[in-house]
Symmetry: C2
Subunit: 114 residues, 2 copies
Amino acid sequence: MDEVRRVLPLSRSLLHLLLALQEGARHGYAVKKRVEALSGGVVKMGPGTLYTTIQRAEELGLIHEAPERPPQEEDQSQRRYYELTELGREALAAEVERLGTFVDHARAALGGLA
Amino acid sequence: MDEVRRVLPLSRSLLHLLLALQEGARHGYAVKKRVEALSGGVVKMGPGTLYTTIQRAEELGLIHEAPERPPQEEDQSQRRYYELTELGREALAAEVERLGTFVDHARAALGGLA
DNA sequence: GTACGATAGGTCGAAGTTCGACATGTCGAT
DNA sequence: ATCGACATGTCGAACTTCGACCTATCGTAC
């Protein structure tokens, strides 16, 4: 799609955000935890990056706020859940494919130990 | 290594630069072409990004200038060849491994079509 | 023969992105 | 009641990327 090309390449935070959201709706803080866990603590998302990235992703139409998913915890404070839009899913797929090219290439050249 | 962790996560340009150099010594313009080709034209490295990234990579000790590789073309103008340092190779490997985690994850979730 | 596009290197300022300190408030445990 | 984890957010500084511009060489086409 042409829309997709408009948002590529994704910035690092945008990529990490979409990656975390691809597993289902999550709130900001949960995204932060997920990204840090998956990167082995290398990528640290401070609040500055986290919330400005969420805002940017919403502006680009990559995510939107979900209607309060978890049924049990209606009470639970001021959490805001986000989920991928169709464009978000497409952009993520395109970016992963692109990155995959580099990663495959590098893995092959790096002794092919995987 | 601790040195490696110091430079992680790599910025996009830094990653692309090291990725292109991992195949052997190259000069700036050749790096630019390689990155653009491997990304299917999505990543465009203008001169601003290209040369400031090379400078940054040298400062970080990730690359260093190579002693004029190609034997045939001694004459060929003012080309500057760069190659990865040991640290550069380690940082690249670490970053590719980290990114690979995300990519594998995303590929599996994205229908596992690969 | 000279004009053009590709190769090759580079600077600069503006725009975009990331960082971390601070602010605010809730919740559960010691 | 105080502390750390949870949760959201702002702000300014630092870092990164972008694209316009500059210089110069080379080969091809007009």
